[in-house]
């Protein structure tokens, strides 16, 4: 009756449930899906630890509801008044837009290869600053990253 397995749920339903937990004051660790936060986070391997939104600033990796029921965990690259622009670290083009109120959660930590990095910590901050600065050559860096053996990523 008890099985150790992986339950996959549609994002819209699952993340709505997660939001309820966050609003109750919990934090939640969940595995990432997709490669849009490469090179740091790898699909189905790495996790993020979320907390209900506390701040909305450029450079923050956040969970945002970009249209009803559609969520992304991407980085804020621009804020103009209430208007927020997001982009995945692993994306070379394609941004998402929402308002500050649509930002639902901040990442407290990212868990890469089983190791937890606080988003307040030096390592993540240094990586974030570097990666944002490297955006003009991101396309080539990601192309190299894609060709790396899985265990090097």
């Amino acid at each position: 009756m008890r099985e150790e397995n992986i339950i996959e749920l549609p994002n819209d339903i699952f993340l709505k449930g997660i939001r309820e937990l966050l609003e109750e004051g919990h934090t939640a660790t969940l595995r990432v899906r997709g490669n849009s936060m490469r090179p740091f986070l790898e699909d189905r391997r790495d996790s993020i630890k979320l907390t209900a939104v506390t701040h909305v600033e450029i450079g923050d990796a956040v969970l945002a509801e970009i249209s009803p029921g559609k969520y992304v965990f991407h980085r804020i690259i621009d804020i103009q008044g209430e208007h927020v622009t997001l982009m995945g670290d692993g994306n070379v083009r394609g941004t998402e837009h929402c308002t500050k109120a649509d930002v639902k959660a901040n990442a407290l930590a990212v868990i890469r290869k089983g190791k937890e990095y606080s988003t307040e910590g030096k390592r993540w901050k240094r990586y974030s600053a570097c990666w944002m600065r490297l955006s003009p050559i991101r396309r080539w860096l990601l192309a190299i990253h894609r060709r790396l053996p899985t265990n090097w990523r």
Binding site: M1, R2, L9, R31
Partner: protein, 88 residues
């Protein structure tokens, strides 16, 4: 045997999950979920002393199963709950 205090069964997106009260972080990589019959037993037994035979009785009130099947399921469930540290 008794379900330990401090655990809460909650429904999330159609799954029955066990959440430890007072635990700040809920790690979905390590979550315990219960199927329908296990969740039914959990709700019926929480706060009460129980044994495998009392589980069998509850299962047979709700589902059409033979005594042997129910006993096998109950024994397996108790073992799983003990291993997960949910009952004592």
């Amino acid at each position: 045997m008794k379900i330990k205090e401090g655990f809460e069964l909650r429904e999330m997106c159609g799954e029955n999950i066990i959440v430890a009260k007072g635990i700040q972080n809920i790690d979905f990589n390590k979550i315990i979920s219960l199927n329908e019959s296990a969740a039914y037993l959990w709700k019926a037994l929480i706060g009460k002393e129980f044994t495998a035979p009392s589980m069998v009785e509850l299962l047979r009130q709700e589902y059409e199963v033979s005594e042997e099947t129910a006993l096998a399921d109950a024994t397996e469930l108790i073992k799983a709950w003990q291993e997960a540290g949910l009952c004592e």
